[in-house]
Symmetry: C2
Subunit: 219 residues, 2 copies
């Protein structure tokens, strides 16, 4: 029942919250009113105690023997994540990845709405994709101001990332979701979150390499 927004909540917990959201949405769809930590743990493949710890962090209490209220819990997590109201965003870099993200409809449920794309290439400018306009990057500041956009999704080539991030900051962007492989340096107060393809691939391929090293033979 408590709503206290805790000062600090661990990053691992925050990264797990979307999984709870997915589970809880399923439960709501099935008109399930309450769900217990062992149930959630079973569905996600981890331990009940971890579920309870995570849920405690967002400040919703359960009821012994019954579990947690599905709708209330869902709302609390979405509120915590800021997924309860929509934030507008621009995609900068209308390459394959940028276009793919602009067309992804899963963001709608996560409080993210992509309004438009930006690119430097005149051949792309003016040709809408997924019903969204592609503007010249020159117009980033003007349009960010006019539309009050504070989030940029950065999908330019690695070499251009630092420069374009600078433009974004100048344009008043407050948060950059960085899909490039480049580490960005930004003024204090600007949020950068890296979507790290290479890190994920490293985990996959190192495991594969380890397995290969272990299991010789077996033609």
């Amino acid at each position: 029942m408590a709503t206290g927004r805790r000062i600090s909540i661990g990053l691992p917990t925050i990264r797990r919250l979307p999984m709870y959201v997915a589970i809880l949405e399923q439960a709501r769809q099935a008109s399930q009113e309450r769900i217990s930590s062992p149930q959630i743990a079973e569905l996600l493949g981890f331990e009940a105690i971890q579920v309870r710890k995570d849920l405690a962090a967002v400040g919703v209490s359960g009821q012994p023997r019954v579990g947690f209220p599905v709708v209330e819990l869902l709302q609390a997590i979405e509120r915590f994540l800021g997924w309860d109201n929509v934030s507008d965003a621009f995609v900068i870099g209308a390459g394959h990845l940028g276009v793919a993200l602009a067309g992804y409809d899963g963001f709608a449920g996560h409080g993210l709405k992509i309004l438009a794309l930006f690119d430097r290439d005149p051949a792309k400018v003016g040709t809408p994709v997924h019903g969204k306009e592609i503007f010249d990057i020159e117009r980033l500041g003007e349009l960010a101001q006019r539309l009050g956009v504070r989030i940029a999704i950065l999908t330019v080539p690695d070499e251009a990332a630092a420069e374009v991030a600078g433009l974004a900051v100048q344009a008043g962007i407050e948060a950059i979701w960085n899909f490039t492989g480049t580490k960005l340096t930004v003024p204090e107060g600007v949020i950068v979150e890296r979507m790290d393809l290479a890190a994920s691939l490293a985990v996959l391929s190192s495991r594969l390499a380890a397995e290969r090293a272990r299991g010789r033979g077996r033609a």
Copy 2:
């Protein structure tokens, strides 16, 4: 100098290794022969002690007062990650994201080569993208066998993920790079690595939400 492949190396370390690779490649390009942990730390924005710990984990020694040998270190990390020889992969799901990944040329340097795509939609089958054929998913087993492909990059809609992952496992796929929002259950021995868009977005948007909650006013 030592090459000992340590039994267990922490996941956080593995996820940082690609950053070292990027830095080291730059250094090599600049014909720099040695690089010190403070130098690397400066470039990546973390502490020298962490760099030394990470590098120790892959088993290359530095020289006091001089630093680490750039080329040797680079090779050691790439060998550890399995990025030193190419693994073939299929993209399953020729939607926007799948096509974007198939066209991404950054994988070449990371030991990953996408040979072809698969989709269920007859309209997509037979129309190559980025010079790569799109096959009917029915042919996954046959082609995986014939070409010896062991990695699948899963970019189908969430609802189809579980079923298609099952097909992939049946086809002899050993490692799945999962770009869907669905948690996959696979037989023991099959590697699944999740590329978690939602987790990353959660970190970004929760920080934004926290900032918004803190800094009222300031029109």
